[in-house]
Amino acid sequence: MNSKLRDFLVTNILAVVLGLTASGLLLLFLGENPLAAMGTLFGSLFRDSYTFADIFVKATPLMFTALAFAFTFQANLFNIGAQGQFYIGAITAVGFSLLLQDKLPGLLVLIIVLVLTILFGGLWGGLIGWLKARFNANEFLVSMMSSYVALNIMNYLLRTLLLESKGEYPQTNPLDSAVWLQTIVPGTRLHSGFILAVLSCIGIWVLLYKTPLGFRIRAVGQGKDAAEMAGINYKTLYVVAFFISGALAAIGGFTEVNGVQHMLVQGFNPDIGAAGIGIAILANGNPIGIIFAAILFGALKVGGTIMGQLSGIPSSITELMLGFVMVFVILAYFVREKLEDNREKAKLKKTTVNA
């Protein structure tokens, strides 16, 4: 157990360091001083409260998409479609907010919109689980492709039903400030969606580790045959797990639309699903760990953007940096598996020799 925890910390810290080093090497090719650049990156985070708060703004939707991946992962299912579920949530949020904002009080609209977001995102995700349960369709592929469908639904609606009144750009009208998620730190963009995200992480942790339903989901993930022999219907759970997963990613879309963008713009946050997977793996699938991993990614995102602005380094380098960190974090997972495997083998060899 101790050696496992040690592996976990060492490999992950190493992964982050290696990711930053690799992107630092690329900076060398651009003729920049990587150390200075990294200094700007981390130093800039603390220059004012707006920037610092933005870390948490960026972390908010990441928590949701990471939860979406981590949740089905507990049932040994891969939800690669958080991006699409996120868009479905965003469409639902913007659509119903615009529809209801003049008719009902703001808070009531927000609650209704949240419920509908959960419903539509859940159904969108649940469909993947149902296809898996009913036809044994590969959930990896179905969820991945469903993202493209969602993206194109969004693009279509932005040019038709949801198109702004001016009709200039593929984007919606801005939302009335009554249906914005409330700012919790004045002078920053930090909104109440962040609190919702943290509460969701805690809630999902309770669901998974403290309730019978969560137990059954984990049981199917860790020992499907034993679970089935215990009378647990894994097919139902596939649908349930994907419903919850889809709903989580969709809430991320809601907090982005009603908390940050206050409108829906074509092609926004296109890498939020992929980043979520990296964060979930960095957190080892633990919902509480996701809070911290998402904040780390948020910091890299904010700092990277500022670094790009200040030092004239192309801002795309920050995407590269995140990419590198993510690749190394994922590699670290496999390194840990290998280490664990070797340890077990060594143990076994020792016992058979002594026997």
């Binding site: 984990r218 049981a219 860790q222 089935e228 215990a230």
Partner: protein, 516 residues
């Protein structure tokens, strides 16, 4: 006598992450000989051959070919050395034609389809196989697919052909044809290794027999020097000297608890029945022992009673109530406990804590839930109590199942199933692979539960266990019950014959008549 060995395996050991699959296995394969590799499921037969074929890398040991040490890292190396293996699950590209499968990996660039179709057709004709070279594999029946696998090996001019349980998917006629082919092939100076757990086939086709048990070689015999009975004893374990009988509990006068009526089970898309017309009754306070060489339908029988598989035909009753349509979950609720033979796969979730494993079959019961959350204090207390009563060696209720020894894992399952199985309990190979202390503990538990008036089905390949615990004994062979006897009516000799598939009156000549 045959010449020097073609292939020799010396002291091979192979460990998987958590189990020893082969330990110190040495054997020789000679040209012109059918070698049967006999053993129960999980005895390590396939593993050792996969090591030879380069699919697995052995931790220790050497492989010699014609007396020369070779390193085989992949099936490609093996094929280059003239070794071919037909897996239990075929390695064919379903969407390709027969010819394409056969020449796969042996041609480069453009190839003349007609030319190769002709070669394959000739090859098939030479061996009397009716195979159309242009047919797409996915459309062929299983028996023909196997012929394609064999043709693939022949095309590569394999000197050694390894077949893993080749008859498992075949009808009796197809099996006979396959046996013929094996003998022909060895007459042509090649070697065949035939992995199986079926005694009759071994006696029919093998020249030499290597028996494996628990990852080790326990016997290397020429066919002429042995018979089914000796082989079944080697396969199953030690001979029984000191037989003890259970007290007659007078179960006959008690009501029937569990009853099977003409139960048949067939996997979809398979021709063979896993279970054929099985009927028996188990009274309250009775242990019904089910003896048999493993792989004769025991797993399917458990699947049928536990509700894991739907019956193709027949009925199952508990206390007179028809439960055929009930799901696994419902059968747990009405009091059927089940201790599966593959405890690490079906009994426990190895990565979960003991408390969670105790909770596994109870997650739908409301008594364990408090305000929508799992009642952890109660579960902890319950698990701790069970750890004490069953003397489970564990650091506590939070210990992960994987960290326990096999015997202690089994005790955890036992504790759970004994409580759940208020009416009937199925024990499938409850003591396999355990040490003596654990075995004794489990035997005592089984007898205790019987005393409490539960109906008990004990499936075991260990004859001592069957004889020591059962009130009545049924023998299962190829999915059929060959007879149900009172314990005292059977002796080792008689049960050995039944286990090999010979019902009274059809005893083979190779076996000695009962001597007392």
């Amino acid at each position: 006598m045959p010449a020097a060995p073609f292939v020799e395996l010396r002291n091979i050991s192979k460990y998987f992450a958590k189990v020893v699959a082969n330990q110190d296995v040495s054997l020789q394969i000679r040209k012109g000989e059918v070698l049967a590799l006999l053993g129960e499921n999980g005895a390590g037969k396939s593993t050792i051959m996969k090591v030879l074929y380069g699919l697995y890398k052995a931790e220790e040991g050497q492989i010699l070919l014609d007396g020369e040490e070779k390193v085989i890292n992949s099936p490609k190396d093996a094929m280059r050395l003239g070794i071919a293996m037909i897996q239990q699950h075929f390695a064919l590209v379903q969407a390709h034609t027969v010819t394409e499968n056969i020449i796969l990996g042996l041609v480069r660039g453009r190839f003349d389809r007609k030319h190769y179709d002709k070669i394959v057709a000739e090859l098939a004709a030479d061996h009397g196989f009716a195979v159309d070279p242009a047919a797409v594999v996915s459309e062929l029946p299983v028996g023909v697919q196997q012929k394609v696998e064999i043709l693939k090996a022949l095309y590569q001019n394999a000197q050694l052909l390894i077949m893993d349980e080749p008859t498992a998917v075949l009808t009796p006629q197809e099996s006979d044809a396959l046996m013929n082919f094996m003998q022909q092939n060895t007459r042509a100076g090649k070697a065949v290794v035939f992995i199986t757990h079926k005694l009759r086939e071994v006696m029919e086709v093998a020249d030499r027999i290597v028996v494996m048990r628990n990852g080790r070689v326990v016997g290397d015999l020429r066919k002429e020097e042995t018979d089914e009975i000796e082989l079944s004893k080697l396969m199953v374990g030690r001979e029984i000297h000191d037989r003890t009988y259970v007290q007659d509990s007078g179960f006959g006068s008690r009501p029937v608890a569990l009853e099977l009526q003409n139960v048949s089970l067939r996997e979809p898309k398979e021709e063979l029945f896993r279970l054929k017309n099985i009927s028996f009754q188990v009274h309250k306070g009775e242990v019904l022992g089910i003896a048999g060489v493993s792989g004769n339908g025991q797993d399917s029988l458990c699947d049928a009673i536990s509700g894991y598989r739907r019956l193709t035909k027949g009925k199952i009753l508990l206390n007179g109530e028809n439960i055929t349509a009930k799901s696994v979950r419902e059968r747990i609720q009405i009091g059927i406990g089940y201790v599966p033979s593959d405890r690490q796969r079906y009994g426990l979730i190895m990565s979960m804590k003991l408390t969670e494993n105790m909770f596994l079959k109870r997650s739908f019961e409301e008594v364990w839930v408090k305000r929508a959350l799992i009642d952890e204090p109660k579960l902890d207390a319950y698990t701790t109590e069970k750890i004490h009563t069953y003397a489970v060696k564990a650091t506590g209720p939070d210990a992960v199942a994987r960290s326990l020894s096999g015997g202690n894992q089994q005790k955890v399952i036992l504790a759970r199933e004994v409580d759940l199985g208020s009416e009937a309990i199925i024990f499938d190979q409850p003591t396999r692979g355990l040490d003596l202390g654990a075995i004794e503990h489990i035997h005592r538990t089984i007898l205790n539960e019987k005393e409490k008036g539960k109906a008990i089905v004990l499936i075991s390949t260990e004859l001592s266990e069957i004889f020591g615990l059962s009130d009545r004994i049924a023998v299962i062979y190829r999915g059929e019950i060959l007879g149900i006897y009172k314990n005292r009516e059977l002796d080792t000799e008689k049960i050995g014959l039944l286990m090999a598939g010979y019902t009274p009156g059809t005893a083979p000549e190779t076996s000695q008549p009962c001597e007392q």
